[in-house]
Each structure stands twice: as structure tokens, then as C-alpha cells.
Symmetry: C2
């Protein structure tokens, strides 16, 4: 196989109680990437559609991730051409850069007959994240590569776990078309927190994960609470409280900030509820002058896939 | 039924990564309690063997817990006599007061034909804990009542979850006969912690809970780490580091402080390993002048039981 086309999915990180550790992969929202072996012995971005992104190999997250992977293989004969058809908007908070990094390494791994497991690919995709945001985080690339809900248990050593996905969970994600600068969403966080708040948060994280395994939607709902990060970041997102409120009123299990925003996610049991939630979210944002997209999607258990 | 004898089990709280939220119920280590309906319309402690504990109903954790329960029932005609045969040493860090509180409310609930669920009994048993330590914590009474591993997801409202128990887990618990005052073990904690440490801790808690559900003993082992509480409290326990080290050298999945100490627990896969760990622990403590007990026990999935 010398060519492959892949679907590189969007992801929701943090998921309220799981700051920096939880993520989930989405169906239907994502980029397309075409990846070819070439005779050039270089990694080259040959096409980008749908976004203004750098063509320079050391600046584009997809090529940076692939180069990290090839470096590990230590085979200088391998050349790769990458075409990116970007559909996830940059800076939306649903893992746009992670989709490119994860899609690229997954595709190249297929072309090379899978020298690495999906878990091993995470570390390479993280190098793309390092270029994108300055820190090699895994909470979007892990679910993009493994599919479903994932937990980054540890960074040192890297330890990423795929959790169980209950069958009837649906995400509704609204992306307000405003820019929240990563620096701002980081700077607004406090470097420390009260022990009692940490305990509350890890109680909720434990409840959420238990709820995933036992498919206890009520427990998932009770656990979808963030008293640490959301209270600080919510002010960067117009109408956050109203959107969260209307999602809950329409039956969502919970709602919160997707990654570092500005997208807001809601998690619901059943597609009909997710659609009701979407309607409510649209209603709130129609009253503003801000453009927005709304996605309704089930959980993508596969991660990056061959098209 | 007018009389009941119950086994009130010891429990290990915190379990490294789960400060204030995780607990587990032990087999074979616990108190006996005999509880009778009486015509007195009072809750009376009629016998205490094995420990010096108050007979006054408003000072003994067992009667305080039962009175909280009867108050909720609002039936002034009910009288209860309680005999306590204490085997768990007070201040050992394996839930001595919790065993009394949990055993008493569970027994009375049986005598009254179960007006409450085990989950509902937790709140009454917590009133015993309030008397014992000044704070109505649930991390020992919850596993004593529900059995197995439990998570206190939230205190307000109280939400206690029974987790899955893998079949082959064994505890080794060494109880050094020294007194660690609850005030000291509390005062030594810091009221806040760095966000990055909280993230590390909740990654491990998530990994531990995931490991319980998937019966992944390696993941349980990797997750049994405490970078928040243990570094502060370990200095109150002589030879803590040495005991932890020898437990790991003998094949334990992990080891840490039981509750607020001074007991130290190790968790192992298989009884043979737990016994090897016990041998190692004994070896360390034999070199000191401190008396000690060692318990080797499987996980008690039932909690308080009728004898």
C-alpha cells in the first residue's frame, strides 16, 4: 500500500471533571487526510485545503508528528507526502491540531505495515501538539488515536488507557466563532487549588469513570461537574452559563467547556435528547451576533479510520 | 427477630491515590457486636470488651450512629442494647470507629426489617465518625457497609458508589503499635496543592478505578501512587519507606498509608504474594522496638454481616 485516505476525528478533552486527563473521540466531525509514500526521503505537506496552515514540514503539526515517528524508526529512506483537507476549525476547542497529528501518524503507520501500536502512536502525535500549543499534551491525540473515552493516567512514563463507552451517549457541541487564545485560557488558571476542591474533583472523576464502566447514565450525570477549571475559564466564553443551563433543561446529562474552549459540549443519553439540546444551544446563540456551528454526534469508538 | 450478632469489618481508606474518596472492606479483621431490642426506649451500651470506650450513649460512636438512625425513623418506642467486642485497635488506621458505627446501624436496620438501604445507612454511621474524629467522613463507613471497594463521589449530597472488585486482590496490613494523633495527621496536610499534582493524582485515581473494572492488575499497580498526601504523612510512621519498599520488592502491586496511619497496607495479586509481603514487613519491624500486628486478608465484598 502506497496511499491511504483517513478520517481524522475531532475530540472533546477534559469533559468537566477530567481536566488534562479525559478525552473522547467524536463521530462525523473531522478532517480528511491523504497520505502517500514518496521517493523524496522527506516528509512534505503537498496540499492544504480548508485552513491557512504552514507548509513548512517543521511547522506543520502533521509533518512534525510524522517526523518524530520516522526518527524513532531510524529509516532515512522513507518519504511521505501529506494532503490535508481541514474541516475542523483551528482554535475551536475540539482538537483541530490533534486530528492532524493523529491522522498523519496513524496513516503513515498503516503505510508502513503497523510498526507501532495505537498507544505507541500517541507519543508521536503529542509532538504535533507541542508545536501547536507549546505543550505536548495527550488529552486530544489519545482519544483521536484510540477512539472512545480515554484517560491519560500519566505522562512520565506516558500511560494512556481506553475506557469503556456506554452505547447510548451522544455529544452536542456548539462552536462559537470567536477566538480564545490558548495563552489566555492558560493564564486564567491558578497554579494551585484548595485540597478540598481537588478531593471533590477526583470524587467526580472516579464517579464518571465508574459510570462509564457500569453504563450508569445517572452516575455519569451526577459526576459531570467541574469546580476547578470551569469557574475560571467560563468567563472567556460568551453565554457559557446560559448554554450550559439550557442543555441541562433539555435533558443533557451534563455540559461543560470542550478542551480550553470556546466550544461547549453537552453529553446526553440518546440522540433525540442531543438534538433537543442542540436546538436549545442554537436558540441562545441566535440571540447574539456571534456565528456558530452545532454538531450532534455519537462517540467514535474507532478513532482515526481508513476511508 | 429481637437479637442479632454481627461481624463489623475493618477497612482501609484512601488507598494511595484516593485520599478522602476511596475505601475497601477487609475480611477476617473486625469486631463482633451483639445488638438486642429492649423495652427501655433508649439506646444503651451494655457491654464493651477489648477496649476502653465510653458507655455514655452520646459519646460512644455505635450508639450515636444508632440514635441518628432512630431519629430519622421518628419512632420513640424503639429501645436498643448494644454489646461491643472490640478487636480492631483504636487509632490503628483501619477504621476501628467506623466498624462500630457501621456494625451498629447495620444490625439495628436488620432488627427493624430494613427500613433503610445500605447506602442510606452510611449517613447515620457517619455521625459516629463525627464523634470519633470531629468530621463526619465516609471513607471507612462506606466500605464497611457496602463491602468491596467504594468511592465517596460527593458529600453534598452524599453519593457513595460500590466499585467492582477483581477476584484476586489481597491486602497485607501492618499495624505498628504507636499512636498517630488524628490532629497531627491532619495538621501535617497542606490546605492547597499545585494543580499539576492534582492532575497527576486524578490520573492515578482514574487509572485505579479503570483497573478495578477491567481487572487489570498491572494498571492497578501503576496507579497505586500518592504524590499528595503520603509525602506529608509518611514521616509520622516509623520505617514507612522501608516497609513500602520491601512490599514492592516482594511483589506487591502497591503499598501506602492505611487511612491516616499508622497502619501501612500493601495490595497484592494472589494470597501467596500477600504472605511474602507480610514476611517482608515483619522483617522490617522486627528490627525496631515497636510492637506490631500483621493481617493478610482478601477483599470483603459483603461488608457487615450476620454471624
Amino acid at each position: 500500500m502506497n496511499s491511504i485516505s483517513v478520517f481524522a476525528p475531532a475530540t472533546v478533552a477534559n469533559i468537566s471533571c477530567g481536566y488534562d486527563v479525559l478525552g473522547c473521540c467524536l463521530n462525523g466531525v473531522g478532517d480528511q487526510m491523504n497520505v502517500h509514500r514518496s521517493s523524496s526521503k522527506n516528509v512534505t505537506i503537498t496540499k492544504i485545503e480548508g485552513a491557512k496552515l504552514p507548509f513548512e514540514a517543521h511547522k506543520n503539526v502533521a509533518s512534525v508528528a510524522v517526523m518524530a515517528m520516522l526518527e524513532q524508526l531510524n529509516d532515512p529512506s522513507i518519504g511521505i507526502d501529506i494532503e490535508i483537507f481541514k474541516k475542523i476549525k483551528s482554535g475551536s476547542g475540539i482538537g483541530s491540531s490533534a486530528a492532524s497529528s493523529a491522522g498523519a501518524v496513524w496513516a503513515v503507520n498503516e503505510l508502513l505495515n503497523r510498526p507501532f501500536t495505537a498507544n505507541q502512536l500517541v507519543q508521536f502525535a503529542m509532538e504535533g501538539e507541542r508545536i501547536a500549543s507549546g505543550s505536548a499534551h495527550a488529552d486530544n491525540v489519545a482519544p483521536a488515536l484510540l477512539g472512545g473515552f480515554t484517560l491519560v493516567r500519566s505522562y512520565s512514563p506516558l500511560d494512556v488507557i481506553k475506557l469503556h463507552t456506554p452505547p447510548d451517549l451522544y455529544f452536542t457541541v456548539i462552536h462559537p466563532q470567536i477566538e480564545v487564545k490558548t495563552e489566555d485560557s492558560r493564564r486564567i488558571l491558578k497554579p494551585s487549588l484548595p485540597l478540598k476542591n481537588a478531593v471533590t474533583q477526583w470524587g467526580n472523576l472516579g464517579g464518571f469513570i465508574s459510570g462509564l464502566y457500569t453504563e450508569d447514565y445517572d452516575l455519569i450525570s451526577r459526576s459531570l461537574s467541574d469546580i476547578v477549571i470551569e469557574p475560571l475559564r467560563a468567563i472567556l466564553i460568551p453565554k457559557f452559563k446560559e448554554v450550559q443551563q439550557i442543555a441541562l433543561e433539555n435533558g443533557a446529562l451534563g455540559a461543560g467547556i470542550s478542551g480550553s474552549g470556546p466550544s461547549i459540549f453537552a453529553l446526553s443519553k440518546g440522540k433525540a435528547t442531543a438534538e433537543k439540546v442542540a436546538k436549545g444551544m442554537r436558540q441562545i446563540y441566535k440571540e447574539t451576533s456571534i456565528g456558530f456551528d452545532v454538531h450532534i454526534t455519537s462517540v467514535n469508538s474507532a478513532g482515526v479510520t481508513c476511508i
